[in-house]
C-alpha cells in the first residue's frame, strides 16, 4: 500500500477519466509532498446535551427524533470565530468537496499543529473510493482551554492510497441492485444516520 506523492496527486487531479477532485482548491500549495491540506467549512453541527437523556440506536424512530433534537446546525461567516470548549464534540465539514476516483482511498489526518492544542479531528477517518462530498469531521477539544476555529483555516490533510482494484462507494451491491448511499454528495456536515444501518434491527 503506497501513499501517493505530490506528482501522482497532480496527475490524478488532471487526468480526464475519473479524476480526483478537491474543490475549491484555493491554493495550489495545499497539495503537499504526500497529502492535500483541507480547510474547515462554514457549517457546524453543535450537540445539545440538555434536550435528551440518551441516544440509543435500538428504536429508529426515537433515535431519529433524538438526533434531530440534539443536533443544531449553525453557519459561521468568514473571519468569525467558532469556539470549541474542552471536552466538547462538534461536527464540521471540509470546505472542499471531494470526488474520489474509484482507484483511490484516503484517510483524514489531523494536522499536528492543531493536535498540539488538543484538537482531535475526524475519528472516522477513512474516505472510500467513489465517495463524493464534503467530508464530515468529528471535532473534539481534548485540551484544557477553549480553541477558536475560523472557517477556511487548514485543519486536516488527506492522505491517498491506490486500491488493488477499482471500487465505488456509490456502486451497486453484490446482487446488482443500486445501493442507496447513506451520505449522498453532502455539501456540509451531516447528521448521523446510524438508524439507517441495515443491521440495527438484528442487534438491538
Amino acid at each position: 500500500m503506497a501513499v501517493l506523492s505530490q506528482t501522482a496527486l497532480w496527475n490524478h487531479i488532471h487526468r480526464s477519466h475519473d479524476p480526483l477532485v478537491i474543490s475549491p482548491l484555493l491554493d495550489t500549495e495545499q497539495v503537499g509532498a504526500a497529502s492535500i491540506d483541507v480547510r474547515i467549512g462554514h457549517q457546524f453541527i453543535i450537540l445539545q446535551r440538555s434536550v435528551v437523556h440518551t441516544i440509543d440506536p435500538s428504536d429508529p424512530t426515537a433515535l431519529r427524533e433524538a438526533l434531530y433534537r440534539t443536533q443544531n446546525k449553525v453557519r459561521i461567516q468568514r473571519r468569525q470565530p467558532f469556539v470549541i470548549h474542552p471536552r466538547q464534540l462538534v461536527l464540521g465539514a471540509t470546505l472542499e468537496y471531494v470526488s474520489m476516483p474509484k482507484d483511490l482511498a484516503a484517510t483524514v489526518e489531523g494536522r499536528s499543529s492543531w493536535g498540539r492544542l488538543g484538537l482531535i479531528i475526524a475519528t472516522a477517518c477513512s474516505v472510500a473510493p467513489g465517495f463524493k462530498g464534503c467530508i464530515t469531521l468529528e471535532l473534539v477539544n481534548d485540551g484544557e482551554v477553549p480553541i477558536v476555529l475560523r472557517p477556511g483555516m487548514r485543519i486536516a490533510q488527506l492522505v491517498f492510497f491506490e486500491t488493488v482494484k477499482d471500487a465505488d462507494y456509490r456502486d451497486t451491491n453484490n446482487d446488482g441492485d443500486k445501493v442507496k448511499v447513506k451520505y449522498d454528495c453532502p455539501t456540509g456536515p451531516e447528521f448521523s444516520r446510524i438508524h439507517q444501518d441495515a443491521e440495527t434491527s438484528f442487534w438491538c
Partner: protein
C-alpha cells in the same frame, strides 16, 4: 395635548424605543451572510440615539411650547413605528433564515446593476420574490426570497428579475412623459363613446380611468423589462425558470386590479424568449453554446436544449398567445403603448446589461467544462486548465446555465427524481458559494 397625555405618550414612545434598541442589540449578536445587515443595524442604532436625544429635547420644550412639543412627539412616535417594520426584515436576513450561499453573489451582481446601492437580502413567508427600494440612493435595496424556496436553487434565478426593478424605475419617468398624453387621448376617446360631451364629472372620470390605465401600463412595462433583464443575465436559464415558475399558475390571466395588473405569464415567457433570440445576437449565441457542447461530446445536452427551446416556443405560438386576447378595449390600448415603450425599454435593459461582465453572453464558453464537473457529481465552481495547477472560478451565469442544462438532460432521460433534484440544488448552491470564495481568495493580494 394635555400634560398627562403628553407624559403617557412620551413614556410609551420611550418604552418602544427601548424595546427597539434591545432587539437591535440581539440582532447584532447574530450571524448574517454578509456585512450589509450589520451596517444597517449600526445605522438603525445611530438613528435610535438621535431619537433618544429628540425625546429629551421635546420633553424639555413642553413647558414653553406644549402644542409644538406634542406635535413633535407624535411625529417621533410615528417614525419609530415605521422603523419597527424594518426590524422584521433584518431578522429574516440572518444566516439561518437565508440561502446564505447566494448572498455574496447577489451583492456582487447588484453592484453592476445598481452601482453604489447597498443590497440587503432577506426572506419572506410569501411565495413570491420581491424587492423594495427607496429613490434615495443611500437607502438600501431589499430583496425578498420566499422562505419556502430557500433550498430550491433553480428558482433563485428570479433574483435577476428583482434586481432590475430599481434600475427600470429610473427609465419610467421619462417614458411616462411620452406615454401619458397618448394614453389620455385613448381614454378620452373611450369615454366620449360612452358619455358624449365631457363635463366636470367626465373630467374626473377621465382622470380616474387614466390613472387606472397608467398603473396597468407601468406594471406591464416594468415586469416585461425586468424579465428581459433576467434574460440578459442568465439567458435561456431565465426562460426556463420563468416558464417553470409560471407553469403552476394560469398562463393567461389578464391584468386586473385584483392581480395588481401583472401581465399574463404567457406574454412574459414570449417576451423573454424573443429577447434571448432577437437581442444581443441571442440566436447565434445559442448556436455557439450548442457548438461548444458538441465539441465537448455533450450531444445529449445539445438535444435537451433544442427540445426544451422548442417546447417553450410551443407555448408561445400565435394560437396559444390568442388565449389571453384582452377582452376590454382599454387593456388592448394600454398594451399597444406597453409595446411601444418596450422598443425603448429593450435598449435600456441592453445598456444596463452591457455593464455586467458576468452575463451569459460573456460566459457561455465555460458551460461545457462545468457540465463535465456535474457529470462527476461535483459542484461546477471551477475551471481546470489542463497542464496548469491553478484553476479559475466559474462565473455565476455559467454555473446557473450549466445546472439548468444538466437538469434538462435529466428531465429528458426521466432520471430527475426528488433525491436527484435535491442533489442538483445542493451542488448548484455549493458551486455558487465556492466560486465567489475562490474569486475573493484570488483577489486578496490585490486588495
Amino acid at each position: 395635548m394635555k400634560s398627562h397625555q403628553f407624559s403617557r405618550v412620551l413614556l410609551h414612545t420611550r418604552f418602544e424605543l427601548d424595546r427597539f434598541e434591545r432587539t437591535l442589540s440581539r440582532l447584532e449578536a447574530h450571524d448574517f451572510p454578509s456585512d450589509v445587515a450589520k451596517i444597517l443595524i449600526a445605522g438603525q442604532k445611530r438613528e435610535s440615539e438621535t431619537a433618544d436625544q429628540s425625546l429629551a429635547a421635546i420633553e424639555a420644550d413642553y413647558e414653553d411650547d406644549p402644542e409644538g412639543a406634542s406635535a413633535r412627539l407624535v411625529s417621533e412616535y410615528r417614525k419609530l413605528m415605521q422603523r419597527r417594520r424594518y426590524l422584521e426584515v433584518l431578522e429574516k436576513a440572518r444566516s439561518d433564515e437565508l440561502p446564505w450561499s447566494l448572498v455574496p453573489s447577489i451583492e456582487r451582481l447588484a453592484e453592476s446593476i445598481l452601482p453604489g446601492r447597498r443590497v440587503l437580502v432577506t426572506t419572506t413567508p410569501d411565495m413570491n420574490y420581491m424587492v423594495s427600494w427607496s429613490r434615495t440612493p443611500d437607502q438600501p435595496v431589499t430583496v425578498y426570497l420566499p422562505k419556502l424556496h430557500r433550498a430550491n436553487a433553480f428558482l433563485h434565478v428570479l433574483i435577476g428579475h428583482e434586481l432590475f426593478h430599481p434600475a427600470v424605475d429610473t427609465f419610467l419617468p421619462e417614458e411616462r412623459i411620452v406615454i401619458t398624453p397618448k394614453l389620455r387621448d385613448d381614454c378620452k376617446q373611450l369615454l366620449v363613446k360612452v358619455d358624449g360631451e365631457p363635463d366636470l364629472f367626465s373630467q374626473n372620470r377621465l382622470d380616474a380611468v387614466l390613472k387606472y390605465a397608467l398603473e396597468q401600463w407601468e406594471r406591464g412595462l416594468t415586469e416585461l423589462m425586468c424579465d428581459m433583464g433576467a434574460a440578459s443575465l442568465f439567458g435561456p436559464a431565465a426562460l426556463w425558470t420563468i416558464s417553470g415558475f409560471a407553469a403552476s399558475q394560469d398562463l393567461d390571466v389578464p391584468p386586473t386590479p385584483e392581480n395588481q395588473f401583472y401581465p399574463p405569464w404567457r406574454m412574459r415567457v414570449k417576451a423573454v424568449l424573443d429577447y434571448i433570440v432577437q437581442v444581443d445576437d441571442g440566436e447565434n449565441l445559442l448556436v455557439n453554446v450548442c457548438k461548444s457542447l458538441k465539441n465537448a461530446d455533450l450531444n445529449d445536452h445539445v438535444q435537451a436544449i433544442i427540445n426544451s427551446l422548442e417546447a417553450e416556443k410551443g407555448i408561445c405560438t400565435a394560437e396559444e398567445l390568442a388565449k389571453h386576447s384582452f377582452a376590454d378595449t382599454l387593456t388592448i390600448k394600454v398594451y399597444e403603448h406597453v409595446g411601444e415603450s418596450l422598443e425603448r425599454g429593450r435598449d435600456f435593459v441592453k445598456d444596463v446589461a452591457s455593464k455586467i461582465a458576468d452575463r451569459w453572453s460573456n460566459t457561455f464558453g465555460q458551460v461545457s467544462e462545468l457540465l463535465k464537473r456535474l457529470a462527476l457529481l461535483v459542484p461546477p465552481s471551477e475551471l481546470i486548465d489542463a497542464g496548469k495547477q491553478a484553476s479559475n472560478a466559474a462565473s455565476l451565469s455559467a454555473i446557473v446555465l450549466a445546472c439548468w442544462i444538466e437538469r434538462l438532460l435529466m428531465e429528458q432521460n426521466n432520471s430527475l427524481g426528488l433525491s436527484e433534484y435535491r442533489r442538483l440544488c445542493r451542488l448548484m448552491l455549493k458551486a455558487i458559494e465556492d466560486a465567489e470564495l475562490k474569486r475573493e481568495f484570488a483577489d486578496r493580494g490585490a486588495k
